[in-house]
Subunit: 468 residues, 2 copies
Amino acid sequence: MLSNSFVKRLVDIVGETYIEQSEASLLAYSYDATPNFQSKPDIVVTPGSTTEIAQIVKLCTEYQVPIVPRGSGTNLAAGTTPTQGGVVLLFTRLDQILELDEENLTITVQPGVITKTICDTVEARGLFYPPDPSSMKISTIGGNINENSGGLRGLKYGVTKDYILALEVVLPNGDTIRTGGKLAKDVAGYDLTKLFVGSEGTLGIVTEATLKLVPMTESKQTLLAIYESIDQASKTVSSIIANKMTPATLEFMDQPTIKAVEEYAHLGLPTQAESVLLIEQDGPVEVVSKDIKLIAELCKAEGAIEVKTAQTEEEANQLREGRRSALSALARLSPTTILEDATVPRSEIARMVRAINQIAAKYDLNIATFGHAGDGNLHPTCMTDARNQDEWERVEKAFEEIFAYAIECGGTITGEHGVGEMKSPYLEWKVGEAGLAAMKNIKTAFDPHNIMNPRKMFAKDTRKRITL
Amino acid sequence: MLSNSFVKRLVDIVGETYIEQSEASLLAYSYDATPNFQSKPDIVVTPGSTTEIAQIVKLCTEYQVPIVPRGSGTNLAAGTTPTQGGVVLLFTRLDQILELDEENLTITVQPGVITKTICDTVEARGLFYPPDPSSMKISTIGGNINENSGGLRGLKYGVTKDYILALEVVLPNGDTIRTGGKLAKDVAGYDLTKLFVGSEGTLGIVTEATLKLVPMTESKQTLLAIYESIDQASKTVSSIIANKMTPATLEFMDQPTIKAVEEYAHLGLPTQAESVLLIEQDGPVEVVSKDIKLIAELCKAEGAIEVKTAQTEEEANQLREGRRSALSALARLSPTTILEDATVPRSEIARMVRAINQIAAKYDLNIATFGHAGDGNLHPTCMTDARNQDEWERVEKAFEEIFAYAIECGGTITGEHGVGEMKSPYLEWKVGEAGLAAMKNIKTAFDPHNIMNPRKMFAKDTRKRITL
């Protein structure tokens, strides 16, 4: 419960218009895209400038009120749920592209800009911003920065972190700092830029960012390879890499995912196939043709029963959109959908998919798996019903086993979705007791009163590590 | 002065053989490649394992003795000088390549491995480790990691940080942690890997690293463009980028550098030219040919009086080696050579080079400039004599003005050499008071007793900011 004086001072900072306290508003911001982590904030505020944000942060520090910065709330690990109440801080008024610098190949934006708007803006100038999270049509760049979002082009182009050159950040003590610059190289002190990217809003509030752009690729080709076994698909991934190629996209879908996508999007996908790979290459025309031809041969050599190359951009786009719609397609099948994010070294994909299927069978659960095969980043997705207590317990146990197995394979509990509150009990499994202590020390150094997105990343208790 | 009990316990850890205390040894490790920062350590130790390093760190914490981790000592910012005495820790016994994983495209190494050994090892397998600091024939990968070393291929391929996937680190409290993994994506907690890379040995001791490799490029071509003015060379850089090309190398040398290199290496360089660009492109044969042809046209369009394309790999190698030898060539000309590392946005190169020349004239100094034009990373190099007190004071003033001007241009005080002790009084100019405070908080969180490479990065006092 917020004190009247706190609310009054908050109104003084941003104005009555930009405060929401109605039950409807509080409910609207009580959850993100993660099931089962609903919790109402005490107030929702929409500041209009960095100066206002700095004042809000100082006020929250004074009153020890939690702040949860929130983009579009597409987070899948309960990273933007106000589980400790407090202030939800929105960026809808900070949605401007501030500068497109074509000489230095950078774009400077406010955190509330939609990711796809950035992509479209730079593409119109022959430039390219590669990170493309599946939610890019609605996610904000500020959210992408907080979560270090990945996407379908990660294998060749990397993730959000690889494209953030400079940040303006309001620290928990109310100071505003600027990190980095329009610089290809900068080693002046610790790399605060890369520390903030992916810190899930726990260290400060990003209020401006300068992004690196690259020249737009000349051409692109898309291919779909259809398999009767997951192993063959997985071996194809290794074979492509071993042949010294780096495709722009190298995506995997298993049979349940293919079926759901086909029912949802009617693309003519082979619903009887055990798995498909969606592969794209981009670059100069001659290179793309050569690579796609060789990739098609490798797919066949590894046992693909069919390899289709998209003949038109429309056809290619349909295939891409099919893959992008996997979560929406699966989400239609049950009241609750849990999309996980286990990541393993590329060489371990087949082993990991087999383990996921065994774990699903063991706990009698319906799990479909798709993901970024080139990155070893798999999204096992459980169709369930959170109201079914017995099944829910089995879901939790199954995912615990999946995390443990991913770590066993040299992998991690999250490749691109973040830890949030959902996976915080498992962070120690990946980083160890000493690693977690080091992270907590960083958190305390920046935010001694723990007001910045509290309870995210760091759990009250670590789950007991499962022995496989 | 170390206590007898400290030395005895150190001997217990590593054995008598791996301790050096002779005057000759202490002198040998009293400096790195930076002039004027000589200071003797109290003892030199060469541990043989991570376990021994952890024990040494705990011992040093107990006795509050500084530890300076040191690779080959090629640092140019007094980053590895034991200016507070204590223990110099060498990695010569930790010089093994532990694994080359061709399926996941990684190599795992101990910190004492020479950078070029890594390059040669992976190239023999058709793979490529791109970071190539000029000192790569003698520098160690551990040193490269501590300094986040750059090199000639930074524009297209990035720097050391972009290739470090996982680390083993001994923390100042004696804990050993493992960060990251053989993973293209990992967002489990704060990115400790990228925080340690470039932290100049102030946060812990890197004892193992897993590096990302990429497929070896198919072909490479090298071109030398000769100019009568620096502006024309600089405009060529912008023009190449504006034409959506990213050369693998885009290096600049001014006339004094060209002259020195020619006298040193006898490559037939045009010593009358105001400046030259050394440009390389790599990739598939057809792409390289097309790019080099277009680049040659752009050079001529911007006013190059001559454009030479290397006809053989030997000729290309000579040009590369010529550029790599710039520091050695200039260093022969005077008793003391100060090589600086100011970096600006690419669009500001011409302005920055003009400013350097004006500052050199103002202080009556002999400054040659070369560097990574594509990255905006310039190395103004002053030929001087540290024994000439009057001139030395002018050198210091000139470099202060160069730093201030670089920051004025949106640049930084160091692009790839690090802050070390030499540039620590200027760090606040770049990162601001609040930014510096945030960095000091991180340092304290990891190393409360300030035993890890003390006095590096953080100065006792910040210099008064020059107003231009």
